[in-house]
Amino acid sequence: MLKYWKKTSEKIVEGLLFLSGTVSSLVVLLIVLFLFKEGLSVFNQSPIEEGYIIAVNSSNNIDRLDPHQIKDIYDGKIINWSEISGPDVAIAPFRFSDITDFTIEGQLADDFSNLSFVLDSIVAVNPGIIAFFPEKYIKSGFRGKTLEKSKLGVIEFLGGTQWFPTAEPAAQLGVLPLVLGTLWVSFGAILIALPLGLATAIYMAEIAHERVRGILKPVIELLAGIPSVVYGFFGLVVIVPMIKDLFGLPVGETGLAGSIILGIMALPTVITISEDALRNTPRIMREASLALGATRWQTIVRVVIPYSISGITAAAILGIGRAIGETMAVLMVTGNASVIPTTLLEPVRTIPATIAAELGEAPQGGVHFKALFALACILFIMTLIINLLVEYASSKSIRSKKN
């Protein structure tokens, strides 16, 4: 009886373990699926808002405009159609919300009943007009010409250099500055975190007295528990002005400030993992090295570090992973200007900061909302590559040890 009971309870525990494993894998899979479904659908949409059209006068020979041209026209940077191989007429940009500037008092009925007639006559009368208004107000026999609405292209999205997701009438969705900004800041962070972290790990694993190590280790692990917004505020108040004065810059919110903060935040990961790797070096190897007459320093450099190099690589890569995904601290110190960074001493905008700052107000299902999901997909692929690299690094060392 007791034996039977033992068996059943074992079965139940096994079942529970299986269930929790399946459920959590399924949840992760579903999240990824959802992410990619939302993100990839951005390419089915036009940067011009759903349900809106752009129309020009019928005498105009322009048939299509790309989003940059539309933005430059509405920003007043292109002021004549001849600049974009159209007729030599000054451009009159018209937004639906400006309708009262184009009509005389009383022309537009209070209940908007004659709206499509008014829109039609505005477009027909002005030869230089470019009008942006909802599609449903096109009256039959519309005397203007509507421009072709092209979908967002993959190259335009990945290679575009302008990020103005809320620009009207055409959103500018070029993610190149954001991707480069993320890589740039994370790269800087690991340049700071790796030497510092490795040095601390070596000190703790090889040199420090047991009592010192007993104090140091919890303190470093405490670093991982500080909320990132606290790091962000510390960065804004302390590190940003410091960088500005040190390099004589006009502005302190730079990629470097983000790198320093992220470097500090990645330290616990780098230290803990590389210290574990260092301490895993078999005692025999260390003793053999010392017995051959090597000094402690020689033993560390020639024996311990080479032996644990895969663990140290994993620490570095996981540190980058931590830095790439970090949101709040970066949002506060890097200045978030969406320009392509050329040095670490310029403001940059990262992917996580962009998502955090913009997702709240992006209309659900719109092109901006989906573009943010596509950004999340890019971030996901970046971290996936990093994790694969970790796998590769650790598997490689196991093989070399076996040989």
Binding site: W163, T166, P241, N336
Partner: protein, 286 residues
């Protein structure tokens, strides 16, 4: 919970009908059981929250739910009927008016406060007057050095709010004649961060709500008439409308719900409510 609420909703009109005329007192006590939702602008949110708290204290039967999310969110909730009051830091857009009139909604507007935006620079900056055209040039990237607007030879560092903020949109529409910000503008997630950054960057310029001004930053006087008159931002100047960069804060509600929401709006416009407006840092209506 839900069924009891439903029951109450059914009960109140029934009681009102039956007690009509013969028992005034009971009628009034039942009417006080007010429960409604306010949704919309994050700018108006702190004010509404405080007002709602105080209003609920005066009569324990009142239950008001206040939700943020942005002006646009509130207005579309008003269209769906999921909120009773939409708070907004801007007037209705043409297409919103259109959608509302198409849906057969009759929307009433009440202005509960004004908010003024101050243009702020580092205290070490010698410039103290600026025109709207110069501000447009600075934020669209056409003007890059302080000497172009009469200051020192110093690079201009322009700070803005994130694009999700109503303040970002307001500044773009009101000051930059709807042109887009330059792409090298620094954007920060919070007004506090803008104040902090401007106070430690000599060439900085930015915009914040009047309530956030402190001694670490210097405000500029703004001219909307090509430099003829410059007005410094202050509560008084915003009140008499001589300061141009100010906006009303609105409550929108449907006329059919007027009897439900009017006590609260009247409370906001009362002396007590307008004191709260001052406390939160906005400009009272009267």
């Amino acid at each position: 919970m839900n069924t009891t609420k439903l029951f109450l909703f059914a009960l109140v009109p029934a009681l009102v009908l039956t007690s009509c005329g013969n028992n005034e007192k009971q009628d009034e006590s039942k009417k006080e059981e007010i429960s409604f939702t306010i949704k919309g602008s994050d700018t108006v949110l702190p004010l509404t929250q405080k007002a709602a708290e105080l209003f609920m204290k005066t009569a324990s039967e009142n239950s008001i739910t206040v939700v943020g999310g942005g002006s646009g969110v509130g207005i579309s909730a008003l269209m769906d009927g999921t909120t009773d009051i939409a708070m907004s830091s801007r007037d209705l857009k043409t297409d919103e008016k259109l959608k509302l009139s198409e849906g057969g909604h009759d929307v009433k507007i009440s202005i509960i406060a004004f908010d003024a935006l101050a243009v702020v620079v580092n205290p070490s900056n010698g410039v103290s007057n600026i025109t709207r055209e110069q501000l447009e040039g600075i934020f669209t990237g056409a003007i890059k050095n302080w000497k172009e607007v009469g200051g020192k030879d110093l690079k201009i560092i322009a700070y803005s709010r994130e694009s999700s903020s109503g303040t970002y949109e307001f500044f773009k529409e009101h000051v930059m004649s709807k042109k887009n910000y330059a792409s090298d503008i620094l954007s920060l997630p919070a007004t506090g961060a803008i104040i902090q950054s401007i106070s430690q960057t000599p060439g900085a310029i930015g915009y914040v709500g009047l309530a956030y001004i402190n001694e670490n930053v210097k405000t500029l006087s703004v001219s909307y008439d090509q430099g003829t008159t410059f007005v410094a931002p202050s509560v008084e100047a915003a009140k008499d409308k001589s300061y141009p960069v100010s906006r009303p804060l609105y409550y929108f509600y449907e006329s059919s719900k007027e009897s439900l929401v009017m006590p609260f709006i009247q409370f906001c416009l009362s002396a007590e409510g307008q004191n709260l407006v001052k406390e939160v840092g906005y400009v009272p209506v009267n």
